[in-house]
């Protein structure tokens, strides 16, 4: 098992090199870095994108800031795109409700780096520390905000196409087909489930298309937003796209299976009882799509991991496969299944990762 170590070592080497080159650049721009950078640790090396997400201070007034920086072509492109997204969001003239973003304090191309410094949104308490009812209304508020931005007209599509991905049934089905192939080649035991899921999506392609053209967020989970009072600030703008109305809800509900099953059931029930039948189906379709994406991520991690992390990856694949079957059968997620998985996960997670998760408010 040499590959896994190389992956982690490669990331660590990249992080050290990048940080030492970045430090004087950040200082010259009027900012300093915190000593402890938890967002670069733990299982971060498994995630894509060579860019650093750091915390620091503005030297002039000690204001806490979030810093994103990269010197790689891919990372620089991603950061420039993030900047463009932020600028364009302000110009969307067909939004009924505004999208709240942390203020961008600096966007600079300095030396070999592209750097974005934005205001660090301090939460008085983390999302999951709010009462369940508050969590329900906060998340519902964000989903309604996303839904209010529907790109339907000629003028809308001109703005959208120049900046964001615009996904309809064809793109979702194409992506799922790749997820399915990758999952099956990495773990052939997933074959039946992935083919069943693909059929479910293909049979309902028209539904996916019907509820597309809405602003959505492909990674809408609590560590990508901050709650201040009744307002929710979005952090990761690169994950914004125009696609199915329920993509962000689906990602959030899948995530809630692990972190607040009661809220997952409430939101599912709310959509079933308040929205039209086709919309509930669209939610299930998107949950299946997002689960395919997640399974691809974990099956792809199998050859990058070793020891406990490898065992944990296998447990994750088995857990999410069972959730996928639940969604396909339109059955509620079993609490027993979740608790059993959590026990195994906690026993197998490294201390470093547990720390990273605490910082992300997930533990």
């Amino acid at each position: 098992m040499n590959i896994p170590k190389e992956n982690k070592n490669e990331w660590n080497a990249y992080r050290e090199r990048e940080l030492s080159d970045l430090l004087p650049v950040i200082f010259s721009l009027g900012f300093s870095l915190d000593t402890d950078q938890v967002h670069t640790m733990g299982e971060r090396f498994l995630m894509s994108g060579k860019k650093l997400v750091l915390t620091g201070r503005r030297i002039s007034d000690e204001k806490k800031v979030a810093i994103k920086a990269s010197s790689t072509d891919f990372g620089k492109k991603e950061l420039s795109h993030e900047h463009l997204c932020r600028e364009t969001i302000k110009k969307i003239n067909f939004a009924y409700k505004p999208i709240l973003l942390p203020e961008e304090l600096l966007f600079a191309k300095a030396g070999k780096f592209v750097v974005i410094v934005s205001e660090f949104i301090e939460e008085s308490k983390a999302f999951f520390e709010h009462m369940d009812e508050e969590q329900f209304f906060l998340s519902l508020g964000v989903f309604k905000m996303f839904e209010s931005i529907h790109s339907t007209a000629y003028s809308h599509s001109k703005i959208v196409r120049s900046v964001w991905k615009n996904w309809g049934a064809r793109e979702y089905l194409g992506a799922f087909s790749k997820y399915s192939m990758n999952c099956i080649s990495a773990d052939p035991t997933l074959r039946d489930e992935m083919l069943l899921a693909e059929k479910f999506l293909t049979d309902n392609a028209i539904n996916i298309e019907r509820y597309s053209d809405f602003l959505t967020h492909e990674d809408f989970v609590p560590h990508n937003f901050r709650v201040v009072g009744n307002d929710v600030y979005l952090l990761d703008h690169t994950a914004i796209l125009f696609g199915n109305k329920y993509e962000s809800v689906a990602r959030f509900l899948n995530y809630l299976c692990l972190y607040n099953l009661k809220l997952e059931r409430w939101i599912t029930k709310y959509i079933r009882e308040n929205r039209r039948e086709g919309e509930y189906l669209s939610l299930r379709l998107m949950r299946v799509f997002k689960l395919g994406e997640l399974l691809q991520f974990y099956t792809g991690s199998l050859n990058k991991t070793e020891g406990n992390l490898h065992l944990l990856t296998k447990e994750r694949i088995s857990f999410w496969k069972n959730i996928l079957l639940n969604i396909l059968d339109d059955k509620p997620v079993s609490e027993e299944l979740v608790n059993e998985y959590k026990k195994k996960r906690d026993a197998l997670r490294s201390e470093e990762e547990k720390r990273r998760q605490r910082e992300l408010h997930q533990l």
């Binding site: 839904e147 529907h150 339907t152 028209i206 086709g278």
Partner: protein, 193 residues
């Protein structure tokens, strides 16, 4: 009143609804247009002409959609032509306000000589037309052609929360507001005969 009500319930009419929005659009007007179409379709032959790429389906309702992604002139022309074809064989044209529907509806009513009723639901469109001379003229043109104007807006369905008590009172009020609205439309439609 009772006699007219009986007439309404016994006579199947061919009604065309012209709507700028229709679900999956999330605007209140879209929700209203679909609910109205479904309510009317219980007893009448209902068609909807709307701007949408892939509108939601409703049983018993024929939907003709015009893609909003077309440039303005083309979509207005296509909407007018589609509406003309639908209204030619209809008894009533019922249109939502807003210039993109008002002007084609008034033109179609003029050429087909079908009774045309306009519903003032979109407050944003009303506010916009008060500030824009062209939109104001479009609205006046439509009002002149309409045999009746409706300003009544039924309630939106109350949200049913997954916790706490169900909103019984709001549900009763919502159903009552739709019953009243349908009654008002019954009276107006019967007057067109």
């Amino acid at each position: 009143m009772e006699r007219r009500k009986i007439m309404w319930y016994n006579t199947k009419m061919r009604i065309v609804i012209a709507a700028p929005f229709y679900p999956p659009d999330t605007e209140d007007m879209a929700v209203y247009a679909k609910e109205l179409a479904e309510n009317l379709a219980k007893r009448h032959d209902v068609s909807v002409v709307t701007y949408a790429r892939l509108p939601e389906e409703s049983s018993g309702v024929r939907i003709y959609s015009v893609n909003k992604r077309l440039p303005l002139i083309f979509r207005l022309a296509r909407f007018t032509a589609t509406l003309f074809c639908a209204v030619r064989k209809a008894d009533i044209l019922y249109a939502e306000n807003g210039a993109s529907v008002e002007v084609p509806s008034a033109l179609v009513a003029l050429t087909t000589r079908r009774p045309f009723i306009i519903h003032f639901d979109d407050k944003t469109a009303i506010a916009r037309s008060s500030k824009n001379l062209f939109l104001k003229m479009a609205q006046r043109f439509a009002q002149k052609r309409a045999i009746s104007e409706v300003s009544d807006i039924p309630r939106r369905p109350p949200e049913i929360l997954p916790f706490g008590l169900p909103p019984e009172k709001e549900l009763v009020e919502y159903r009552a507001s739709w019953e009243n609205h349908m009654q008002k439309l019954t009276d107006i439609f019967n007057e067109t005969k």
